[in-house]
Symmetry: D2
Amino acid sequence: MCRWLAYSGTPVLLDTILYRPAHSLIDQSLHSKLGVETTNGDGFGVGWYTDGADSPALFREIGPAWSNRNLRELADHVRSPLFFAHIRASTGTAVQQSNCHPFRHGRWMFMHNGAIAEFHLVRRDLTLLVDPELYADIEGTTDSEVMFYLALTFGLDRDPPTAIARMAGAVERAGRERGVEFPLQMTLAVTDGERLWAFRYSSERASRSLFYSSRVDALRRLHPDMAFLRDASEKTRLVVSEPLGDLPGAWNEVPEGTYGVVQPEGDELRPFAPAAM
Amino acid sequence: MCRWLAYSGTPVLLDTILYRPAHSLIDQSLHSKLGVETTNGDGFGVGWYTDGADSPALFREIGPAWSNRNLRELADHVRSPLFFAHIRASTGTAVQQSNCHPFRHGRWMFMHNGAIAEFHLVRRDLTLLVDPELYADIEGTTDSEVMFYLALTFGLDRDPPTAIARMAGAVERAGRERGVEFPLQMTLAVTDGERLWAFRYSSERASRSLFYSSRVDALRRLHPDMAFLRDASEKTRLVVSEPLGDLPGAWNEVPEGTYGVVQPEGDELRPFAPAAM
Amino acid sequence: MCRWLAYSGTPVLLDTILYRPAHSLIDQSLHSKLGVETTNGDGFGVGWYTDGADSPALFREIGPAWSNRNLRELADHVRSPLFFAHIRASTGTAVQQSNCHPFRHGRWMFMHNGAIAEFHLVRRDLTLLVDPELYADIEGTTDSEVMFYLALTFGLDRDPPTAIARMAGAVERAGRERGVEFPLQMTLAVTDGERLWAFRYSSERASRSLFYSSRVDALRRLHPDMAFLRDASEKTRLVVSEPLGDLPGAWNEVPEGTYGVVQPEGDELRPFAPAAM
Amino acid sequence: MCRWLAYSGTPVLLDTILYRPAHSLIDQSLHSKLGVETTNGDGFGVGWYTDGADSPALFREIGPAWSNRNLRELADHVRSPLFFAHIRASTGTAVQQSNCHPFRHGRWMFMHNGAIAEFHLVRRDLTLLVDPELYADIEGTTDSEVMFYLALTFGLDRDPPTAIARMAGAVERAGRERGVEFPLQMTLAVTDGERLWAFRYSSERASRSLFYSSRVDALRRLHPDMAFLRDASEKTRLVVSEPLGDLPGAWNEVPEGTYGVVQPEGDELRPFAPAAM
């Protein structure tokens, strides 16, 4: 299992979000409170959008985030309006760069916490469902990357919620055909650089934790002294595996079987269910 | 492309073979003479058999061999009667541990120099031919590992030359179905810890170089002063991508379309051709 | 801070000691119970003696031990009568191979848990005390390595307890000259491949934990069913930062300000105090 | 020995300079033409200035530059008006991040190609000359880093040419006291983020190669079709270990015993000689 965060809003130095909060993602890499494991030291990744680039930048490494000097450097020098960060606790697959999140395809980024149960039983079945045109781009060996490629196969760039629903449906069907009772456990985020979608779902209806930050205007009234909140636009939003601190009023749980969209025309929460396949 | 060596014979310190020769594999990692690239710095691996273990030990890393201190340490302390060593020059796939040779399955080891031409076109077709029971064990993304799993699928543990011939046939057929003129270029070695098979073949009949060492008794007469030769048994044999030095009489080219077996009952060279699939 | 273990006795597969116990060192790398940090993921090292080699083999890496495949491989294939293993939690110095324990000089190995307080204040003073002939061999930047080189300077190869006492005295004097109240915190082990010395000391008399295993004959009477104990010689002994499990009667605390010697002529515990410098 | 480049001028994507040229630094990492070694695969580093940061960003890694995906990503997304890049071929010291160039102290960056001859003989003497206040900041074990700290000790932030001259004088004196005939071989670059100084010197007056690019206005007249030159300001300048291509008129050798300054008030070349110490 893993921990992740997605940021969208006023361009900030990555440091502001990755290192500064009391229970930052870097702190979670050593001391996760809500994760299945307390330590998330099996690689990490950051992906961010910059002006003028066709696709996001990725920085992924196989060591722990907490001691990585290059991550520390980037956090002090890179500013972005939309970025993903992920710390990994391997559920058995190899600790290698190509297994680190976020994954990228063109303008799209994807990251995940959770697992396809008994992945070794269904890996082949699911990989066969990936569009043959996309198949050769798969670089690693995680269940997460296969989920991403299934979502791409099922139309991620046209309709993300439907593509994720079809992916989840395919995973559940494949698992059940192999006798797996609860095939899917997921909290995941995808973005095309403009909007950000975050999903919380599990076959057993006991999903890993997922939170989103409150509206900046409401938070600002509660905490008029916080420098970051003074500078942040109304549209700034964070989605996280676990809260980055205990600021009262700051964090709201994404309900079970729900997804959220962070977008210019207003953020929304909607029910999520796998599509029958 | 890559460079490799296989050793079978009197137990020796890995150092004797890996570092000591004038044009050792470590030297080849910086200054290959016969390889497609002069530098083979995209990872390396050593696999060796020890008494009492069910399967060989693997040591694989993603950095260059020439500067790896752990390899230097192992070479000074590990003694083995049968080992493989490989240095990698990636032809595009990721530099990650799971893409480093040798590959292992049970008692079997496999390593390869060459490529499946236009692998991205045939990767899916070939992977589908792998026994579904074995599929989930594939850990990396190289053409070489798929070749190994095809050979396992086609009966490597019963009849290695036939399994390799069927694998080569499958690769050629898949390539030609996709319009690839010369689908396969390979020099490869496999072993079960008892015997060692080495193959040289390419679709265009212009295979990468492959050499085997002369019989120890003949060499000893030629070079009565060489300490290593005094200690080596008659059955000691090396198979290498390129000679480890220019000792007169020491190295013999494996002919095109040929495989050799190093085995207790006497070594042999035989013609090799892909099996029609 | 860190965790370590030292083994001396009947030759065993490293796996038996490193991975098999319920609360093995590998488990401690993720879930230390008695350490200052629960996670020890900033590099690790193993050093072992083999027949016929002039000096011990070292395998040290900068990632976490728990996910290192090469360590897993070595543990399954290397057998030794005397070895050190160490997992590191950096107290600030760089995570790099040359900062990983054990350190080696000729036949000697050294490893440490603890710290020289305010090392940046005394680093130069202490390094200047190192024998100029040895100075250029210092490869890393840890306080631990400087302690080792001071011990070598003060006659480690002639009289280890005296050399360690002089080293500790030098560290305390240097610290106090810079106004540090409690300059030294240490549990350390040294060996020449024949004997093993382990020290527990701290300036504030509140040293990190250190344990040694009970006599094998006594343990065997207590636990007649344990396979490992049946095979182990009477002289087999473990010294560890924290017990590898909760076997009743197996573990004994090394008292404050004490060192032990594991040696053919019989093990001993003796008081330890820094030498006035 | 190593290869490096320094860029100052119109802000560009690192890719433009690091990867695009025919004989780019990345190409030199595999196929250096003028270096002592053809392969420079023992780590690399990039340091760049960004608006608003107090000190430059560093990205340094221990693997080869040619296969590093994170470097490839940064090059595609980072834009800077002043950056250093360095590829390393170790002359014996450990391949570790803290030994990779550029080195940094506050706003200053430093990188080097060359060596202090017989460094093991003079390492202690030279390190003792480093300001005790700076001593504890030394993180690696290279001769280059000691050169940097000597320059800092001798007033780099007040008068770089004098500080470098005193450093070179100290190195030569220390070497000669130990009987080294030609103690110093160096081409080095330093910058404070505003100006850039590059030095070429060796005790034997046979220094490693160093080149600077011609004035942009002159190059533009020669090559009116080059897109990069159309966008580059008059003040854009490159200093490199070896030319990045064979554009006629583009590259000029820095003479022996010379340093250059790239600065807003006009670039200059001046004679360089070590200061008597």
